[in-house]
């Protein structure tokens, strides 16, 4: 992939979502589509973990394209979608406090293991199932609710959905996306 393509992809990351990920059939899917039940309310239920996910990142709104087909589903930015860690926590709180989403008011910021569980490691940039989570930017980090364990540390965990690996970022300095979750077994 050329540098030029990288630039284009960054533009799409904020405008229209990822065009697609590099996915290798030689790697077992870690977050296959058949693992999820896509709900008609903008959520998807992970039938393995029992977690219910907002399909769109916080600040984006789902547009199902007018069909039941997932192929034309889009998550389009409608509000602020980059948060400091605190604001990410507050955003989830606000959702719940302002009527919730999809008839639920127990939305939360996923912890490290939860967010890591939807990383599709057969893919990269983004390492996520775009069928379930449309327009996830190809190289964007998402906050978890998990602070770094070291006492007095300034960081919290993120999942970098470019690779699907962990990332440590300063809670008060680094902006990142947020994907809300609720439920779980």
């Amino acid at each position: 992939m050329t540098a030029k393509h990288c630039i284009v992809m960054l533009i799409w990351a904020t405008a229209a979502g990822a065009a697609g990920a590099d996915c290798l059939p030689s790697i077992n899917a870690t977050s296959p589509t058949n693992r999820f039940t896509v709900n008609s309310n903008g959520t998807a239920t992970d039938n393995v973990t029992g977690l219910v996910w907002k399909r769109c990142s916080q600040g984006y709104t789902l547009n199902d394209g007018g069909t039941a087909d997932l192929a034309d589903d889009r998550c389009l930015p409608t509000n602020a979608y980059d948060f400091y860690w605190k604001d990410a926590l507050l955003a989830a709180q606000t959702v719940n406090a302002t009527g919730g989403f999809a008839n639920a008011t127990d939305w939360r910021v996923p912890n490290l293991k939860e967010l890591s569980s939807i990383a599709e490691l057969r893919c990269s940039a983004p390492a996520i199932n775009l069928t379930i989570f449309p327009d996830t930017p190809p190289a964007t980090k998402y906050w978890t609710s998990s602070p770094l364990y070291t006492l007095a540390d300034t960081d919290a965990y993120q999942i970098d959905f470019k690779s699907g690996g962990h990332f440590l970022a300063d809670r008060a300095i680094v902006l990142a996306h947020l994907r809300l979750v609720r439920g779980g077994f």
């Binding site: 077992n28 507050l90 569980s117 998990s146």
Partner: protein, 900 residues
């Protein structure tokens, strides 16, 4: 000479001419006027002498001072001339006795002036009249309408008696009674001898004669008689004659016989020596030739004629006569008798008239001279016509259409145009031709210029006419350069100024120029036929569009330029076809939403419009349809397949210029993976709350704590460190697979009660499962290897693996060995996935050594290959809990899992 003398003088007729008839027919003849002069009527009574008459005195005659009018009776038949006497006042004339034989004679009166200097000069003469001499009768003849009576009377008694006639005898004297005393002979004195010149008048006087009584008569005779006195017996006291022409000195002897009243005579002689006169012929001078114009009054000037001595020829007769040339003119007398006057006749061409002057003197000597009068026709002046007044537009050509005609010229007249009024002054072209021209100057306001045409004929006569040319100001034309437009590089571009206009004339010039604006200069080529049009080739625009600005200035026929007009030609690069990008080939699994993204397509020279995209399926299962096939983002849901199947979609993009390009993308659809069984996630083990911007708390308090990790999950709801730290719940398993009490000291495996995964526990016995053994990542199955099986010989890598009882120290071999031994009663051991391994980590204490006592604080292989690099696979650090992607050809630790 006194008048009284003249009245007694007698003229003797030339005897030689009349001699034959003299004896019988000669008689005394006196002259008197017929009528109108009663007071001087001839006295016909006896005793009256000196019959006097009033001579016709021509009114035309001018009395010349110091000149005496002499009147003579001229007989043209025999060329004899008899002098008549004139009274002092010129009004009366008396006759000498003229002896004429009986007969008929032609006679005329001649008038002379006599001056001392020039002698007698003929002035005029009458026409000839017949004079009939009849014995005893009065003959009457009229001269110039005045009748003269010639009385012939021998003795004044009225009876004509030819026998009684005596020469030189005064009948009345003869009739006087004789004296009575003793008579003494008279003394005759003829005067002294004299010398005269031929032609001179000679006067011999007998006045010196004396007598004691009275002298009865005088008789002059030439002895010998040479004919000087023409045989006439002169009985006067004074003898007058003209010295005859001689060739040498010639003595003439005259004898005077004086007879007294007693008839006693005495004689004396006097010798007159006549010297020859030099040539006396007058010199005629007719004056210089003259050139005159028809109608001119021409004076033929003979006044320079002279006598033979070069003196004014007083007594000369001047006769002018036209001797050559036509027409014949009527000569008129001039006040100067030497001159003649005529009016130059009308001629059609130069005509020479020759006039001859004959100058005759009293001696009838004459000479002639001629003068040529060239009469030229008068020149007729030419005509001029400057043509009509005109109004012309400033800056245009104006023509002065003059004409001229010379009615009598042999060649065309000349022309000269000049500007005589008005400003500004113009420069005339062909000012010397009938038709001149100039360029009307540019004026701000109407201006009148006056031009004069001068037509001059060959004779120099000129005619003039003028014309007024009004110059009206010119209205500048309007340039129209056309509308701005865009063209493609390399295009032939036409700039057309034909729409330009001129309200008061026409446009004669178009000037296209390129306005410098940094754009490339083009080579404008004016159309060969239409000057309004120019063309150029749009230059290359590889670097992007630019504007060419052109300026048009038009000039009208007054040479007035327009304000410039500009047109902008935007030169665009040639359209470059778009580049279709249907995206990278990829693999999906059934039920995956496949988004076909044409957004990587591009148009190098533009932006693809939203309508640029068209997707189609080139290869697909029947019934598969595309969503949004005409949009940049199309899509389909991967259909169910039993084996990897390619779906080929084609994207055609069309740019705004209509160029298109296509690309295909192959989506390989793999069968969906087996549906995973439900498996709850372990909690994270985080029981503390974090602060913002920094710091953690030992317990679950901190920033927006109700949203922090510690507030949820088993860590919060089932936190029991006895069965695993925090929310983790483990069960020890013995070698046979049986669960053991938490307190068991020996166990081989650990069961995760949340995820239901069974974990191998490591040993420190240097045996197969020793926790210090390391392996390279190796997967030879061709499945889930990331396209790279890894390294089979872990010992050969840089920091070599070390193990026991496993050939090659690779993960696959180790798994095989563990399964071979049937660890904990199972032979489905495998490498954990990344998240399975992550699942047993507490992100506080990491590994619960109560259940996993032999664990390296290092990296453990997972089965998950790296999607980023086929050479790598995920590891999880059992020191930090963090995940990484490490090269498969490195030595890492292994902890196997099975289940659920």
């Amino acid at each position: 000479m006194s008048l009284s003398d003249s009245m007694t003088r007698k003229t003797k007729l030339n005897r030689s001419r009349f001699g034959a008839a003299l004896a019988t027919t000669a008689c005394w003849l006196t002259l008197s006027t017929g009528c109108g002069y009663t007071d001087n009527a001839p006295d016909k009574s006896a005793g009256s002498t000196g019959n006097s008459v009033q001579l016709p005195y021509p009114a035309a005659l001018t009395k010349v001072p110091n000149a005496t009018l002499v009147v003579k009776l001229y007989f043209p038949d025999n060329l004899e001339e008899k002098t008549l006497r004139i009274s002092d006042d010129g009004a009366k004339i008396t006759s000498d006795a003229i002896l004429l034989p009986v007969g008929t004679y032609k006679a005329r009166l001649r008038y002379y002036y006599y001056t001392e200097a020039y002698g007698e000069l003929l002035v005029t003469e009458s026409a000839d009249q017949d004079l009939e001499v009849v014995a005893g009768q009065v003959s009457t003849v009229s001269f110039m309408d005045l009748p003269f009576d010639f009385n012939i009377d021998e003795d004044h008694d009225g009876i004509i008696n030819l026998d009684e006639l005596k020469l030189g005898t005064n009948p009345r004297v003869a009739d006087a009674p004789p004296g009575g005393s003793t008579n003494q002979p008279p003394h005759a004195d003829a005067g002294a001898d004299i010398t005269v010149t031929a032609g001179d008048p000679v006067s011999l006087s007998a006045s010196g004669s004396t007598d004691d009584g009275s002298i009865k008569s005088y008789l002059w005779q030439e002895v010998p008689d040479t004919g000087v006195l023409n045989g006439v017996v002169t009985s006067e006291q004074v003898l007058n004659f003209t010295a005859p022409t001689v060739t040498a000195d010639t003595p003439l002897v005259f004898k005077l016989t004086v007879t007294d009243d007693a008839d006693v005579s005495a004689e004396d002689t006097v010798t007159v020596t006549v010297q020859p006169r030099a040539n006396t012929t007058p010199i005629a001078k007719a004056g210089a030739n003259q050139t005159v114009l028809e109608g001119d009054s021409v004076v033929l000037d003979g006044s320079l004629s002279t006598d033979s001595q070069g003196k004014a020829c007083v007594a000369c007769t001047f006769t002018w006569q036209q001797t050559a040339g036509q027409p014949t003119v009527q000569l008129q007398a001039d006040t100067n008798p030497a001159n003649a006057i005529f009016t130059a006749p009308v001629v059609t061409a130069s005509t020479s008239l020759v006039f001859t002057l004959k100058v005759s003197n009293a001696a009838n000597e004459s000479s002639t001279a001629s003068t040529t009068i060239t009469v030229n026709p008068k020149n007729k002046p030419p005509t001029a016509n400057a043509g009509p007044d005109q109004t012309v537009l400033a800056g245009t050509g104006a023509t002065l259409q003059g004409s001229g005609n010379d009615p009598d010229g042999s060649r065309a007249p000349t022309f000269a145009w000049t500007q005589i009024a008005g400003a500004p002054t113009v420069t005339l072209k062909n000012a010397n031709l009938a038709t001149a021209s100039f360029t009307a100057p540019l004026v701000g306001a109407s201006s009148k210029l006056t031009f004069q045409l001068k037509v001059t004929d060959e004779a120099g006569a000129s005619a003039f006419d003028s014309a007024v040319i009004t110059i009206t100001p010119d209205v500048p034309p309007t340039a129209i350069a056309g509308t701005n437009r865009s063209v493609t590089e390399g295009a032939a571009v036409t700039l057309d100024g034909s729409a330009s206009s001129d309200s008061d004339g026409k446009i004669i010039a178009f000037t296209w120029t390129q306005v410098s604006n940094g754009a490339p200069a083009v080579n404008l080529q004016t159309d060969a036929i239409n000057p309004a049009i120019t063309r150029f080739t749009a230059p290359a625009a590889a670097a992007g569009p630019f504007d060419l600005v052109f300026q048009l200035v038009v000039t009208d026929n007054s040479n007035v330029a327009s304000a410039p007009a500009t047109v902008t030609i935007t030169v665009n690069p040639k359209n470059i076809p778009p580049i279709a990008d249907a995206g990278a080939n990829r693999s999906v699994q059934s039920s995956d939403a496949v988004r076909l993204d044409g957004g990587y397509s591009s148009d190098p020279d533009g932006v693809l419009p939203s309508t640029a995209y068209q997707w189609s399926l080139v290869q697909a299962p029947t019934g598969l349809t595309l969503l949004n096939a005409n949009k940049v983002l199309a899509g389909f849901t991967a259909p169910p397949v039993t084996k990897a199947s390619d779906i080929i979609a084609k994207l055609t993009v069309t740019d705004s210029a209509g160029d298109s390009a296509s690309a295909t993308v192959t989506v390989t659809v793999y069968p969906a993976p087996p549906i995973q069984t439900a498996m709850a996630l372990n909690d994270t083990g985080i029981t503390f709350g974090g602060n913002v911007p920094s710091g953690n708390n030992p317990t679950c308090i901190g920033e927006t704590i109700n949203q922090q990790d510690c507030s949820f999950g088993r860590d919060a709801t089932a936190n029991n460190d006895a069965d695993g730290v925090a929310g983790l719940q483990f069960t020890k398993i013995d070698a046979a697979g049986n669960p053991l009490a938490v307190s068991a000291a020996v166990w081989d495996c650990v069961n995760d009660e949340v995820t239901h995964l069974m974990w191998e526990t490591k040993v420190n016995t240097n045996a197969l499962r020793d926790y210090r053994h390391s392996y390279s990542w190796f997967n030879s199955t061709g499945v889930n290897d990331g396209g790279n099986p890894g390294t089979s010989d872990g010992t050969a890598v840089a920091v070599g693996a070390s193990c026991v009882d496993v050939v090659g120290c690779n993960t696959e071999a180790y798994v095989a060995r563990v399964n071979a031994i049937g660890l904990c009663g199972h032979n489905d051991w495998r490498l954990p996935t990344r998240d399975e391994l992550r699942g047993i980590i507490s992100y506080n204490t990491i590994i619960d050594f109560n259940f996993f006592p032999y664990t390296k604080g290092s990296y453990y292989w997972t089965s998950t290959p790296s999607a980023s690099s086929g050479a790598a696979a995920w590891v999880v650090s059992l020191n930090s809990g963090n995940d990484y992607q490490f090269d498969k050809a490195t030595a890492r630790y292994v902890m196997l899992v099975r289940g659920p």
